[in-house]
């Protein structure tokens, strides 16, 4: 009896601690997570590069997993694909392999040097290779264009015009027709950080509780009267657009793509509106990096080389709606939906009042709480109608504490800071 039990205990311990045998190159990514996109990666983008195990991970878990593997000293992951801001804490802990040789080859092959420099994350060596890029745009059903206020150019909208447009659509259809992804998994926080705040205040952190910000929130409240109340349930805007619940929406290009690709003739895609300080927009760069101590460095290098070939970059663009980092011309026969999105991205970048806002950097695992500051302000000011000044004051204190705790310096469009980014 005793023998049997001790055998059982030994056996279960061995089973619990034995690490699985790794025959594949493990590629962990926080991008292309939805099942359709992950399937495209597995079945199309990663074909012919050997045995790759493509694993998707939510950004918070990704950070936890990478840190746990680093602390344990045992790496299972050979290649990571993540956003600029998600890779930056890894580089801060010095846990990424330098990729300078790869970067040199790619620079020669037509990857813009400015983009490659982003991948250095402020260090002297190349920390990641830019993999694909995207941004956020607005999309509208063509039938909504008839309600556009007179004199308004859809490619150069202002907030006042958007409000006017929303009002007209609501009067005509009896229902609010503008939608935002403010659901639990929606990217609404990015709207505040990359679009709303830069457009109204010219900053993100420094100007958080300024008078400009208060005026901006007033505008947003006015706009919200014409926003579909289901917005607080929307995660991806392609579904409510396709289902006809809203006619105009703002979201990440990849989260609009399905609706637009399915019926490209029904939609127009255009830049987000401009505020008094310009047309804020947030470019999103995803990169590929190899963690230090990766079990299959060669396999990972091979995958990076494969994913940054012109053919695969174009395939990525047409299948999942992320744009190439290589300087390649999008082909004529590109998926018409993706072409529409690409047009809006170009229009945003080329607009005279464009104001770049970078993804937050240096917040480490506090990125979620940083988003929460904006979402809480939104909930209190817009949804619960609390006094703007009070909310901005208390949320500003939370933000200031977050900045001192993380010692994160300012990023564009905020002016550079010596220490932690101050909330003025």
């Amino acid at each position: 009896m005793k023998r049997l039990m001790s055998f059982g205990i030994v056996a279960s311990t061995v089973l619990a601690f034995a690490s699985p045998v790794l025959a594949q190159t493990v590629f962990v990514s926080t991008q292309l997570r939805p099942i359709e996109e992950a399937t495209v990666v597995r079945e199309e983008l990663l074909q012919d590069v050997g045995d790759v195990d493509y694993v998707v991970e939510e950004p918070p878990q990704f950070a936890v997993r990478m840190e746990a593997e680093r602390q344990a000293g045992t790496r299972t992951v050979s290649l990571v694909g993540a956003l600029h801001g998600e890779l930056s804490p890894l580089a801060d802990r010095d846990s990424l392999e330098p990729l300078d040789d790869l970067a040199k080859t790619l620079a020669a092959g037509g990857m813009p040097q400015s983009l490659l420099d982003l991948g250095k994350l402020g260090k002297s060596t190349q920390q990641y290779i830019p993999w694909m890029q995207a941004t956020y745009v607005m999309a509208a059903k063509k039938e909504a264009l008839q309600y556009l206020p007179s004199g308004a150019d859809v490619n150069a909208l202002t907030y006042d015009q958007l409000i006017e447009w929303g009002k007209k659509m609501q009067e005509a259809t009896g229902q609010p027709q503008i939608g935002f992804p403010a659901g639990p998994k929606g990217l609404m926080a990015r709207y505040f950080q990359g679009y709303f705040y830069p457009s109204f205040t010219g900053g993100v952190v420094r100007t958080f509780q300024s008078a400009d910000a208060a005026a901006g929130w007033e505008k947003l409240k006015a706009l919200w009267a014409y926003v579909n109340p289901n917005s607080t349930n929307y995660d991806f805007m392609q579904e409510p657009l396709a289902a006809g619940e809203v006619m105009v929406a703002w979201d990440h290009v990849a989260r609009l793509k399905n609706a637009i690709s399915a019926a490209p003739d029904d939609y127009v895609v255009f830049p987000a509106p401009a505020g008094p300080k310009g047309r804020g927009y947030m470019p999103v760069v995803a990169g590929l990096a190899i963690p230090k101590g990766a079990p299959d460095k060669d396999g990972a290098t091979k995958i990076i080389e494969h994913l940054t070939t012109p053919d695969v970059q174009l395939l990525t663009a047409s299948r999942v709606g992320f744009f190439p980092t290589l300087n390649v011309k999008l082909p004529e026969d590109l998926d018409p939906g993706v072409a529409l999105l690409a047009g809006a991205v170009t229009a945003t970048q080329a607009s005279k009042d464009a104001l770049i806002s970078l993804l937050p950097v240096g917040l480490g695992d506090k990125g979620g709480e940083f988003n929460k500051v904006y979402m809480d302000s939104f909930q209190r000011i817009v949804l619960q109608n609390e006094p703007i000044a009070d909310v901005l004051k208390t949320q500003g204190e939370t933000m200031a504490k977050l900045m001192t705790d993380t010692k994160a310096p300012c990023w564009a469009p905020d002016a550079k800071s010596d220490g932690p980014c101050p909330v003025e």
Binding site: E58, G183, T232, G368
Partner: protein
């Protein structure tokens, strides 16, 4: 041989005790420490942060409201179903089997089922549009319709969680000796009197277990609410999830976890005191 035998029972439960200690008590203590420490020193910072959060009061209120609305209804429905099925002869098993189907569906799936019914382009709106009751799609699950949202979540929870109460109640009803009822009938007791005076007191142990189980589960409600209400209807477990997952603040998440545990323990104690079970009727 007899000498040895006295400790055999202890030896036999040792693995499960060790298992519990390893996988339950250790994480429990770790969670409590996580909740009441900050950078390795004891501190109430996490609890304060939790209570100062904008969603805290709402999540406590919502969780309690939901529990108060859902549990009594579930108990009543389960009692009715249990008594009904007691009279059925043939096909009893089939009826019970059909009634327990929601038990086999995961919380989240149940939430999604109800979402497909109640969302703007869902079956419910289609039905109302078809009947001409509505002119255009109505939204039932938005922050502007808190009452409809609450009602939707409560209905989904009742649909999903009544089966488990019924299973326990049916088991309890099966143990009520027929003789008692027959004796009462002979003395002229009507169906109501029999139910109140005989059945209910005799199924007390079952009632107690069912109430404890359902109430604790109601305090831990999450997936159905998440599917239907998202951020619009904060509940305690949802907040713990958000703090852990989205905000990456394990301390505040642990504070929520400890709070949920305290509430659940308190509810259990109240039931143990309020619904006394005779010691000889305990298993």
């Amino acid at each position: 041989m007899t000498k040895n035998r006295s400790w055999i029972p202890y030896l036999l439960i040792l693995p499960s005790v060790a298992f519990l200690a390893l996988l339950f008590i250790v994480p429990l203590l770790q969670t409590i420490w996580l909740a009441f420490s900050d950078n390795g020193v004891p501190s109430p910072a996490n609890a304060q942060r939790m209570m100062a959060d904008i969603n805290f009061t709402r999540s406590v209120k919502n969780t309690f409201l939901l529990t108060i609305a859902v549990v009594p209804v579930q108990l009543a429905i389960a009692l009715v179903m249990g008594t009904m099925v007691a009279k059925v002869g043939r096909g009893r098993e089939t009826i019970l089997w059909v009634w327990t189907i929601p038990l086999g569906i995961s919380d989240l799936a149940a939430g999604l089922v109800w979402l497909s019914i109640l969302q703007n382009s869902g079956y419910f709106n289609s039905l109302l549009l078809g009947l001409g009751v509505l002119e255009r799609q109505a939204s039932w699950l938005s922050y502007q319709t808190p009452v409809a949202l609450f009602f939707a979540i409560a209905v989904a929870e009742i649909w999903r969680g009544t089966a488990i109460v019924m299973v326990i109640i049916v088991a309890g009803l099966n143990q009520v000796p027929k003789e008692f009822r027959e004796a009462a009938e002979i003395f002229g007791a009507g169906p109501w009197t029999r139910f109140w005076r005989i059945t209910l007191p005799l199924i007390r142990p079952a009632l107690q277990s069912a109430l404890i189980l359902r109430t604790v589960l109601a305090f831990e409600v999450f997936a159905v609410v998440y599917a239907l209400g998202g951020r619009n209807f904060p509940v305690l477990v949802g907040e713990a999830y958000t703090w852990q997952n989205q905000n990456q603040n394990y301390g505040v998440a642990a504070a929520y976890a400890v709070l949920i545990m305290i509430i659940s323990l308190a509810a259990t104690l109240i039931y143990l005191k309020a619904i006394k079970v005779d010691p000889e009727r305990l298993p």
